[in-house]
């Protein structure tokens, strides 16, 4: 039940400003996801909150208590690292119990908590093994278990799924979602560059760009009402189509954004027409790349398999005129 407040938080490495004055409030028990392209400062922001990195200026408070100068363990955080960061020479049990032993917990209490966490993550049978005897997914679960046993006030994840293969990533994502449901008294912050992870896990998403907060909101808010072309382009897959020039002028905007799933092929008299360059069939859906004379081909998403051949002339229209208008500065018009 911890509220985290970031006030004008800054971080510089030498002359280089990485975090440029971030103001953000993370609600109690919320699952907040920091998302953005590489180099946007999302990992640094997480490390500032964790206490692994010193804050250059600004204040960070947990429940109205300034924690700028507290160590990670004093802040009551737990963290899951991208590379698992397990202690190679310790068994799974010792890995999970290490923090508790340092905190001078009773032996029975430690055993109870480790066993509970192990059961929750289904790693009980591996408790006697060393990390090198485990697969990547199992290692990441041990890392999560190590964080759980400390019963943290704030749970931090630093791109925990990036080292896993695609199938395992989906499975572990579900585990984390379940974990959030179970640990409903814990505030969680999750860093990722994968917008699918962000959309599926988050209560709220914070999109970062060049050390600044670009937009904060629920996944659907970001999807439906992006406050800039940057957010509009970042959230959603495949990416939103951006049209400029005469295409945008028709809608009285400088930049026009249309999501591939909001476009449809029509028989005739579509808003735009062009030649089909290429189609990608995924079975359940397909993506059509149509050259309508704009800078980039227009991407259209269709249910099922595409039945059009490359070179075919097609008419395209936005469904229900579902478009996003942006002004010169990239803000909604």
């Amino acid at each position: 039940m911890t509220t985290i407040r970031l006030k004008e938080l800054r971080k510089s490495f030498g002359n280089f400003d990485v975090i440029k004055g971030v103001n953000l409030e993370i609600n109690p028990c919320e699952f907040m996801v920091f998302v953005g392209p590489s180099g946007c400062g999302k990992s640094t922001l997480l490390r500032l909150i964790s206490g692994l990195e010193d804050i250059t200026s600004g204040t960070l408070s947990f429940d109205d208590k300034v924690v700028n100068s507290l160590t990670p363990s004093q802040r009551g955080i737990a963290m899951v690292f991208q590379s698992y960061a397990l202690y190679p020479h310790m068994t799974v049990y010792d890995n999970m119990a290490f923090g508790l032993k340092l905190a001078k917990g009773g032996a029975d209490e430690i055993r109870k908590r480790v066993n509970e966490a192990a059961e929750m993550l289904q790693i009980t049978e591996y408790l006697d093994r060393l990390p090198k005897q485990l697969s990547g997914g199992q290692r990441q679960r041990v890392a999560i278990g190590r964080a759980i046993v400390r019963d943290p006030k704030v749970f931090l994840f630093d791109e925990p799924l990036s080292n896993l293969d695609a199938a395992l990533r989906v499975a572990t994502r579900l585990e984390i979602a379940k974990l959030h449901a179970k640990m409903h008294e814990t505030t969680m912050i999750y860093v990722t560059h994968d917008q699918v992870e962000a959309m599926t896990l988050a209560d709220r998403i914070c999109v970062l760009r060049d050390g600044n907060v670009e937009q904060v909101g629920t996944p659907l808010e970001l999807y439906e009402k992006p406050q800039s072309t940057f957010v509009a382009g970042f959230i959603g897959s495949p990416k939103m189509n951006f049209l400029t020039g005469k295409f945008a002028e028709a809608y009285k905007a400088d930049t026009l954004g249309v999501r591939p799933e909001h476009l449809q092929i029509v028989e005739k008299a579509g808003r735009w027409q062009g030649k089909l360059l290429l189609s990608e069939n995924l079975g359940s859906e397909s993506y059509l790349y149509i050259d309508i004379g704009a800078q980039e081909p227009l991407v259209v998403r269709q249910d099922g398999t595409a039945r059009h051949q490359p070179g075919e002339a097609l008419h395209v229209s936005p469904i229900n005129d579902n478009v996003h208008r942006f002004d010169k500065a990239g803000k909604p018009a």
Binding site: F81, Y84, Y87, P88
Partner: protein, 275 residues
Amino acid sequence: MPALVKQTAFYALVAIIVLFSVFPFYYAIITSFKTGNSLFTISYLPTSFSLANYVSVIEAGSFTRNLLNSVIVSSLVVMLSLLIAITASFALARVRFRGRSLLLLTILSVSMFPQIAVLAGLFEVIRLLGLYNTLWGLIFSYTIFTLPFTVWVLTTFMRDLPVEIEEAAIVDGATPWVIITKVFLPLMWPAMVTTGLLAFIAAWNEFLFALTFTSSTETRTVPVIIALLTGNSAHEVPWGAIMAASVIVTVPLVVLVLIFQRKIISGLTAGGVKG
């Protein structure tokens, strides 16, 4: 055909290198088993077998005491320099502070001074500290000379340990001392064993300081005692006894290397982080 030539040349070279490095020790061993006049006849195969030299070395004078001295001095030097080096290397590898690389270079440059250059100065220091003619004087001076190497090697090794493991320990509430002893130390065994062994060998074989900083037979270490072994008259060099003593002194080193060779396992950090 060329493959055969290559292979033959390769093994010939191996044989030469082995012969070259093993022969002196081999010759010392067979000589140590000879007595009387046969010591002065050259033969490359064992001709006689007698333990008389060993008996006389061990029984005569203070050899066992000197052997014990060597063991004490070398072991303490290893422990002391590893303890100091591991804490120093943690600071040099992991703590960001001004002048860090300068300090590292200074440490390295200390090891470049020849022993003889610092001998007089060090002698004064040892006298001043009241360590003259004690084992502590030797331990002190040997530690000074082994530290640069151990610090340098352990620093390089510690730099390669994943930062995330340290950060995970910090999040778990570990202090720097706990990180060093509970997390890094177990991962650094291969490096510790290697540097410790080299420090041991250096201390074990050291001659100049041992000769200068000790004066009584009871505080001498083995290398000095062997050099000072005398026969019944001034003109007699007791080759047999010297060879027997040399073999006794060399065997512990060989045993140590053989024991720890098994412990020098690479890939001890495997599994902790990705990969």
